[in-house]
Amino acid sequence: MNRLQQLFKNKKKDILSIYYTAGYPNLNDTLKIAEALEASGADFMEIGFPYSDPVADGEVIQRSSKQALDNGMTLEILFDQLKDLRKTVSIPILLMGYVNVVLQYGVANFCKKCQEVGVDGCIIPDLPMYEYEEMYHTCFEEHGISNIFLVTPQTSEERIRKIDGLSNAFIYLLSSAATTGKNLDVSTSARDYFARIQAMNLNNPLMIGFGISDKKTFDSANEYASGAIIGSAFVKSLNENDVEESVKTFMKQFR
């Protein structure tokens, strides 16, 4: 059982995950932010490895990816930055990024490196489910890496069941079909959608993401899932001159 699976076993509600981009705002902030997030009460975190063409992301994360790339960030450097991760950070860690970067690194190599540095899972939004299932599932499992799938209001029940079968940590429930950074609108239709998924009694717990920006939206997401994921709002709040302090300030509203 990896750290992520352990977390969901022990905690059923109020789980807070924070996304940030590796190498942003400064190249060597990656580990500092991880440590500050753990100290401020995050339950787990998602570290994005930047990509030049991040189509699923909105403006804030796209800009942070661009700056990280300009700062010189690569997947190789990220793994190097994370090599001492587990000396100072104990909460679960996911890596998040686009498939081309993983393919160029080599999927087997990627899984091996994740295990070596203590990464527990990953989110690759444009990796097709059939390709994961047929080509990479075994490799991920052998290295104890949980692959996280996304579900949107338009995802069919049949597909959600299939995703549930392929998942072993949690399912990432998108609050709406949108790029990152849009505000959560807990409208009747969103509530119906969350309730519909809840009623499916899936094997995996649910985390809600996209549009969660503050305590209020976090609390409403919590009504329908084990917790929520915050990305753009956190990335926007980072102050490049005092990263640790800005993490603390942001996290105060939750913990």
Binding site: D53, V55, L75
Partner: protein, 393 residues
């Protein structure tokens, strides 16, 4: 070996649908419906009628006599430049707008490089009364001003893409983002044979009218339906896909695809994808793209906005990898010279994109009596400023 798409959307090792879950329902809806809709008799009837009376098809297959004399072969030009809106792009947008209507879509989005696909999309939206939003790189907006004005006049909203290289690649990203945020009522008319399955196949089917007509016209003019060569320029590769389509399985016909070398393949300012690229995933399909060792997409360069793209369609990647097609490249300067040459020998000012295909004739050796078809994908009106600057006109 098949050079066409299989049931899962792959051409050999290339193709597929590498898309975030947010796009899955849209792409899946298309995948399930496109062949059924395209093959309906009522669709075909409407499509063909519009191609004939609105686009002006069939486009002529013109034996360019003076060009033929120069190169020592019978050089035929497939005159897509004579289509309404001035390029081959309209074949695909007519097809996709009819498809979008049958899918019940109310809003159309598109990306454009040179503006030819944007104009073609804005045109069909005006024709059918649908809302139209076109994403275009900020740099392309500046270098293709007449086409921007045309799109606006046709009622389209032109949205500048300000990220990355501010060209076609970024316009494509922005259009995909729009589609993610508007999943229900919007159809995305992709202009090239790129994107997730079924786009590459769908667009090549709509463009296959080019080779279908060419075959018939060749019989009329030469008595044979197989030329020795067919040639076309390749950015994403839609005019080439259309020009090759009905010749792909005729192994006697050599397929020549001409990419943009920009300032030269080794200059760092190039869009010669097969030369500089390697296998990877961009804009939803596995293909060949220009990228760093870390998988970051490299900014391309070409004097022609329509070829200024770091990848090629998956079918082209397959034709390249299997050796069925020959992929070559031509520099900015060579293409401009070829554009001037065609103008002065034949009285036809070609789009700089198409001039890339013509420029490769310089590198070919022909046996007597060989027949060559070059796809003249578009006309040069939109490129006058570039020609003027280059030749001090």
């Amino acid at each position: 070996m098949s050079y066409f798409v299989n049931e899962r959307g792959y051409y050999g090792d290339f193709g597929g649908a590498y898309i975030p879950e947010m796009l899955y329902p849209n792409v899946e809806e298309l995948r399930q419906q496109y062949l059924g809709i395209i093959n309906e008799p009522s669709f075909q009837e409407e499509f063909k009628a519009l191609l004939k009376d609105y686009v002006g098809r069939p486009s002529p297959l013109y034996l360019a006599k003076r060009l033929s004399e120069k190169y020592g072969a019978n050089i035929f030009l497939k005159r897509e430049d004579l289509n309404h809106t001035g390029a081959h792009k309209i074949n695909n947008t007519i097809g996709q707008i009819l498809l979008a209507e049958r899918l019940g879509k109310k809003r159309i989005i598109a990306e454009t490089g040179a503006g030819q696909h944007g104009v073609a999309t804005a045109t069909v939206c005006a024709l059918r009364g649908l809302e139209c939003v076109v994403y275009m790189g900020e740099i392309d907006i500046k270098r293709q001003a007449p086409n921007v004005a045309r799109m606006k006049m046709l009622g389209a909203k032109v949205v500048p893409a300000t990220s990355g290289s501010k060209t076609l690649k970024d316009a494509t990203n922005e259009a995909m983002r729009d589609w993610i945020n508007n999943p229900v009522d919007t159809h995305y008319i992709i202009g090239s044979v790129v994107g997730p399955h079924p786009y590459p196949d769908m667009v090549s089917i709509f463009q296959s009218v080019i080779s279908e007509e060419t075959k018939k016209q060749l019989i009329e003019q030469t008595g044979k339906d197989q030329p020795d060569y067919v040639m076309a320029c390749v950015g994403g590769g839609s005019n080439a896909a259309g020009m090759f389509y009905h010749f792909i399985d005729d192994q006697n016909v050599k397929l020549i695809a001409v990419e943009a070398a920009g300032k030269g393949v080794a200059s760092g300012l190039s869009a010669a994808t097969t030369y500089l690229g390697k296998e990877g995933v961009l804009h939803g399909s596995r293909s060949i793209l220009m990228q760093t060792s870390d998988g970051q997409v490299v900014e391309p360069h070409s004097v022609s906005a329509g070829l200024d793209y770091p990848g090629i369609g998956p079918q082209h990647a397959h034709l390249f990898k299997t050796g069925r097609g020959k992929y070559v490249s031509i520099t900015d300067d060579e293409s401009l010279d070829a554009g001037l040459l065609l103008t002065q020998l034949e009285g036809i000012i070609p789009a700089i994109e198409s001039a890339h295909a013509l420029a490769y004739l310089e590198y070919m050796e022909f046996k007597e009596g060989e027949n060559v078809v070059v796809c003249l994908s578009g006309r040069g009106d939109k490129d006058m400023e570039t020609y003027m600057k280059h030749f001090n006109l």
